[in-house]
Symmetry: C2
Subunit: 203 residues, 2 copies
């Protein structure tokens, strides 16, 4: 579906993005089941036929909501300076995810709360892309364990700890409050990397 | 709704729990919207009228699915030995939540994925109880910062980091795999308390 983008004019791409973002807002406000194509068209200010031109069915919009932000995360990791230290790399991952909570909060929340509504083929594609992203992070953690930079006994659990800390922010982080997304990311990262305990643990 | 329990016979309480657990399974398997009272009755092996005797509407079952496990978490924290060190207290919270992922995995997942389907009054009650639980943990973290046991600059974010690490397990933890819920909890806790970095951070 992402390949379709290449065939669109800049105006077409803009309309398609407007539909995706309007749908994410409406799914959040009224629920996925309670949102119709007519309401999405009304929010965008276009005809229903325009929505159908870009998306044959509502689940395709839901898929695209996720695909856009998981692509953004993948691109950011893949284009990152390979000279970054592991610590800086991991900090940047926290910042990437929290930045999404700032810039695309509706879109992130909608995916986590409604992904089970995707038909199984689209869900499998979405999960495969999420798995690819998770594997990129897990590989770096495993590498860090081998070089002695990280002390994870269970790299897989260390990766899930990272995703838990960052992804869970969709439940509580609200853009525009006292701390910026970068400040929140750095706070979370300092817990992840340095721990919360003030002294070496006796345990 | 929890007060109703007191009025039930042991047999009634058992039937009511069977309905709650069967509903959680079915909501997971087929989705909340696609599950009917008739299917719940069939899974329990009782009449539809029996389900209606305990729950007037489907959202009441969804509410109760959450209420049972949040009550379990609250009870465990409230009855905990007050002589525990802060480190041991926090470790026990990780174990409590991961234990739920083991013992009531369907029920936990259903709540996180379908809580937005609750009507606003029931949702407000559920959120208030979750807030009470979160406040108990946050208070202990704030106390630890005052005594110097914890180095959180932002106790609220430290509390959300804990909930993120533990609650996110509903996405990936599957009971009965190689690591027990307690082992997973202890791994997550060691990251939370001691950090993942092998050496003191230069940052």
């Amino acid at each position: 579906m992402a390949r379709l983008d290449g065939a669109l004019t800049p105006g077409g791409l803009q309309r398609r993005n407007a539909i995706i973002n309007a749908a994410a807002q409406l799914f959040n406000e009224h629920g996925y089941h309670n949102t119709s194509t007519a309401q999405i068209a009304e929010r965008v200010g276009c005809a229903k036929a325009t929505v159908y031109h870009y998306f044959k069915k509502k689940p395709e919009i839901l898929f695209e909501i996720h695909d856009q932000w998981i692509e953004e995360l993948l691109t950011r990791v893949e284009e990152r300076d390979p000279g970054l230290s592991l610590e800086e790399f991991l900090r940047s991952v926290f910042r990437d995810i929290l930045h999404l909570m700032e810039s695309k909060s509706d879109n992130v929340r909608v995916f986590f709360e409604y992904y089970h509504e995707l038909p199984s083929d689209l869900r499998a594609t979405a999960v495969a892309k999420r798995d690819r992203y998770e594997a990129l992070i897990l590989n770096r953690i495993e590498h860090g364990v081998r070089t002695g930079e990280l002390k994870a006994r269970q790299p897989r659990i260390a990766a899930f700890a990272l995703f838990g800390m960052c992804n869970w922010a969709y439940q509580w982080y609200r853009p525009g409050r006292e701390l910026s997304d970068e400040q929140v990311a750095d706070e979370l990262f300092s817990i992840y990397f340095d721990g919360l305990g003030a002294a070496p643990s006796a345990g």
